[in-house]
Symmetry: D2
Subunit: 321 residues, 4 copies
């Protein structure tokens, strides 16, 4: 009987999770594993929600947003008794290895599980915040950026029609990646993020100058983590004298059919994860850095600090001054 | 020299305005007018922002959202002195007739202008609220509904992935049309609008029953005018015990490339408006009722009360009980 | 035990089939039926591919294109022995009524089945060709038109960038509805359809005149049924002297998430179909005419001739002259 | 007076050209140039179609597909007399440097122009074929891939609904990059490209095995350059016994609003091009390799052979066997 491998998604959902699960299951089968999936993330590991990853189950999921396996956060998993229960669920099915698609919290949980019971795992980074250290890219980011782009392009129609300012708040608690890249991609005039200091005086001068020389609307992107949405909207009304509105994009950003980039990254991460487990790696995280896919042991990932692409920071600098 | 006709957009922007302007200009030219456009709505009439509607100007606007002529609200137009200025701007160009694409406020302004100076006009109803009396449809509604649909379909990905409730607030101050139709179209479980009384107790019972029998997420649509977004979100959290989030769609709903329905309606309204002026009608509003296009004098439109499609009301009834 | 009702899709697939099935099943359950679905259309009726239409089965289908029940064409159904087999499949489950979502061929098959075994049915018109007599609208048309619009808007980018002509062939064997409406909606310069005679000489003159006065690209829409795609492309190359390319849109037109209009029509047709069966109608087809939903006995539908909206014909006239 | 720089697009159009032009013009202005644009590519250089790249001209182009500057192919540019005419057009405006957004043919033309008149240039790679040597990425590829994805996802609806095979031909004359990546991203069962040898027997066996074990439809992607579309369609009909249809995606692939990836790449390439010219480079092409942006002299680019990403080749291998 072939050895079992189980795949699940954990933490906040992101586009690209479904292709990653599908590809990991199919590639694992090709190299000799019997693939399983777990529903409801860590909670499902404990509560025994497993299913064989056969063709019927994997069919029609590639192009769907979110995660068909569902995700969850689980406090019980911090308790060794529940982790033991999860381990028994693996044992009774002959599952010897795990692939987790999620964020660094989920990776840490798996690392603890490996310390407890010696079940090797591989982690595939997936979060729209793009804030996992050591990798330039996390699954779901490209789809989220394109959802934002479509929303902002739509808002621009009204901004331009009505000669108004729009402040658009995008997701990202500690990390302004989504805000910065979407500001660049959508040609916003202002971008406020946790990473870059801003100067309202010079922003004000710049905007007034632009409006004088013919600009008739303003688009500003703020990262959720700055909590500056309301303030900036009022400030544009009061200091710039242009009618301004705030739009909080919210969960629209998380969904949508995964883009080609997310699907392709999912493919490569998934193949890499199975290969890493095959090579005998025990606690590897897939990373994409400088155009190359590789793996790093979890402690190198989770003990690092996330650093934002300096080129993006430099390009955004003029938008907060 | 051929007689002039001027076309402009006024009030809140909506998809379908651009195709209406383009088609009105082209059709007017075909039947012998010299077509003009006015930028910035009523404000542009006063401030003399006219342009000849030639091929170059009309090119590449059909598929763009919003209104390339821009819109505005103008208090000055209530003042006869400014209206006279507007009239002189028409006279010096030989413009004898007007087509206004907008809402009932704009129609009333034109009616006053007609009373003052005898310039006949035709009104094309355009507002995403779909709340202009006597017509079943206003330009922009179909595009707005499809923008909402795409957003809600995207949010559903996360709702389903994470077994959560999402409350989605859509536009509509006094009119719940957008909320109701998008609730039906997106299969929402709950819909709160100004038009329909709701019963939180029976909604609660229904949702709890659904969740027991297997449903794992909830979508609720609320009309802006109800101001119930925050309340409903907390109520689902507290009374239903499911984690709930609020998303206010905002101006994303206004933009987007006009749908085929909006473009085709724009075509027919525009041809109808030019034809009405050709027939000698002085103050007609285009209407679409029971599948038929016709015109009504403005007083019949503006003195009526808007009534929502009873079939839509009936279909939505179960969503607020 | 409650009486059974079975719903299936038949003939060419179209967007709106899924919402129609879902709504018919849910509404039928609400008024006291036990709802079933049949996979694979008429073939599944014979081969006994039934499933209870419970919540789990109906979940997550509303926004999907095509038909999750799959469709088929079946020669066996012309044979009374197979029809009897189908009837026995109904009997053993207590299914007394049928709802068929499809085209007039499927309606006729059901009519024969009713003549044989007295099983009442209701038909919901669904075909992207929009060529079913007596109804102004068939499910799937609006989605198909918007898919075409997006493709043509995309092709326009290249046409304009490269000063080229593009001939775009859209679906529609005997009926030019899709071609005509998309030509209007996309601002095409030429539209060739089976319904309207064309004059290449006057088209040529018109295009040459347009190009002289500044136009830099040409979009032409041809209906599949005219078989004029290749010819027109060469003719533009040779007679107009502009580089021209042919694009056959093909099955891209059939898919895509149903638009709001298709979902709402599906809702109303489905409720109407169940209501008609409840009222005791035996062989009714749902129709939408002049803005109103009603039913007609099948012979009134299938013995009529389809007639295209004269307003659309009139608006398209200038595009083939 | 500040020194002039002119930007133009040349060769086949691709999404990302507009953002590249806009960003190059704005960034060039920021570092002290007077930016110009040239309409109609090389032809416009000769025929003196220049415009100052001021704010009004650059406004509203970022999110538009194709190239608003239009493109062309020009035989006259091979003639030194016409090149001299182009040079004079530069001289009379004080334009000392050029940025060309296009393919390798356009780069070579600029190289000749540099040899003739010593006007330094920088090239930004833009072509949906992704076949320019030395760079992993060309502007427009990501948008083209996502247009293909949407089309294939739409066709899948019908394929699945009707249990059919669809063969989809995508662009790419000598290079199968689009075909391979879209086959992977869309989960196609078969992919035929110029780069990979195929084995119809083993493909046939594999498909028959899949269909036996439950698969009900087939998607196959073929690169234009293989000219295998018709053959494969008939072969599936005849050898596999499943009804098959061919769809040639055509120019739909070229258009569409640029994705975030294309806009961001455009930004970085454009900044890089201006910086290279500022550093005194005379004949550099922007490249993106292994996650890093840099420049290479044209001869190193144009004398190399394009090589496809080996990881993509490996992942696609199973699809042609």
């Amino acid at each position: 009987m072939s050895k079992g491998i189980a795949i699940f998604t954990s933490g906040g959902d992101s586009a690209g999770m479904n292709p990653a699960v599908k590809c990991a299951a199919e590639y694992a089968a090709r190299v000799g594993y019997k693939p399983w999936v777990v529903y409801d993330g860590l909670r499902g590991l404990i509560d025994d929600k497993f299913a064989e990853a056969d063709r019927a189950l994997m069919s029609g999921i590639l192009h769907r947003g979110g995660t068909f396996l569902r995700s969850s956060r689980s406090k019980r998993f911090f308790d060794i008794a529940y982790r033991r229960q999860a381990y028994e669920n693996l044992q009774k099915r002959g599952i010897e290895k795990l692939i987790v698609v999620g964020g660094d919290g989920s990776f840490r949980a798996m690392n603890q599980f490996y310390a407890d019971f010696g079940v090797p795992f591989a982690g595939i980074p997936a979060t729209i915040d793009n804030d996992i250290p050591e990798t330039d890219y996390c699954l779901g980011v490209d789809t989220a950026l394109n959802m934002i782009r479509q929303s902002v392009d739509s808002i621009r129609d009204t901004a331009d029609s009505f000669s108004r300012a729009f402040v658009i708040e995008v997701m990202g608690r500690h990390c302004g990646y989504l805000a910065m890249v979407s500001a660049l991609a959508c040609g916003a005039e202002v971008c406020l993020t946790p990473e870059l200091p801003y100067n309202m005086d010079s922003i004000g001068e710049r905007l007034r100058r632009d409006l004088k020389s013919g600009r008739n609307y303003i688009l500003a992107i703020v990262a959720e983590g700055t909590k500056m949405g309301d303030y900036l909207t009022r400030w544009i009304n009061d200091s710039i004298g242009m009618e301004a509105r705030l739009t909080v994009l919210g969960h629209v950003q998380r969904g949508g059919s995964p883009t080609v980039r997310d699907r392709l990254m999912a493919y490569k991460f998934a193949v890499g994860a199975v290969d890493a487990l095959e090579r005998g790696e025990k606690d590897s995280i897939m990373i994409y850095r400088d155009g190359t896919y590789s793996t790093k042991p979890i402690h190198q990932v989770c003990d690092s600090r996330y650093e934002l692409d300096p080129a993006v920071l430099r390009l955004c600098q003029p938008l907060c001054q």
